[in-house]
């Protein structure tokens, strides 16, 4: 299956965006983000703490809907999902 990862702002600068991945069935959302983030040490450290837990301010969305980072370790991704990962918003 195919899943798209979108990083924004500082995370995008470190990790790129619109990253197409092909995870196997049953891949957890948190694991998928971690796997992609690991390609850049600073990018990984911006999103995850030393314990490999999402940093408190990180925002996750799946198909435009907010997902609590605390639950991302229990949710499996599905074919066609768009996963967005970003820091606190600063528009306006």
């Amino acid at each position: 299956m195919t899943v798209k990862l979108r990083f924004f702002a500082r995370f995008r600068e470190l990790l790129g965006t619109d990253i197409i991945v092909e995870p196997h069935d049953g891949t957890l959302l948190a694991a998928l983000v971690a796997e992609v983030a690991r390609k850049n040490t600073d990018g990984y450290a911006a999103i995850f703490d030393e314990q490999g837990t999402f940093r408190e301010f990180v925002i996750l969305m799946r198909n435009g809907k907010r997902v609590e980072t605390a639950e991302a370790g229990t949710i499996t991704v599905a074919d066609g999902d768009e996963i967005a990962v970003f820091p606190p918003v600063a528009g306006g």
Binding site: A9, R10, I59, A90, G91
Partner: protein, 139 residues
């Protein structure tokens, strides 16, 4: 009109278009790139979600403050000092609703719309921290 776009807007035309039957007051908010020792500002949006969220905010404001018309145009891309960043136009029968509706919309946008700003300076750039620690709190 609820939009995320690079282009600037014609504010005079927006005000005229906002004059729906029953309008007694129009309030416009224009957020501007401020000269905080920056050269330019770069804005980035999760555009589809930003528009959907602004549409939700506009609907909530319309209902709560009995607005007759709402425009929200948030610009993205490279902007210079003095450029318009965010234009909010609201119409209402009377001024208390127009002011309150306008203010509600900007505060909600700051809280929950996935847009980010990077201030470009002579020494590089810095991402503007969100006003609300958790961001996108209401999505």
């Amino acid at each position: 009109m609820i939009r995320v776009q690079a282009e600037d807007v014609n504010i005079g035309a927006l005000i005229e278009a906002a004059k729906r039957p029953g309008t007694g007051a129009v309030v416009l908010f224009d957020g501007i790139v401020r000269d905080d020792d920056i050269t330019e500002m770069e804005l980035e949006a999760y555009a589809e979600v930003a528009v959907a969220e602004m549409e939700k905010i506009a609907r909530a404001a319309t209902e709560q403050f009995r607005l007759l018309h709402v425009d929200i145009i948030h610009r993205i891309g490279r902007l210079r000092v003095g450029d318009n960043i965010l234009i909010i136009v609201v119409s209402a029968g009377h001024r208390p609703e127009a002011y309150a509706g306008s203010r509600y919309i900007i505060e909600e946008i700051k809280k929950s719309v996935p847009i980010w700003k990077k201030e470009l300076t002579k020494d590089g750039g810095r991402w503007v921290p969100g006003e609300h620690g958790h961001g996108a709190g209401k999505l």
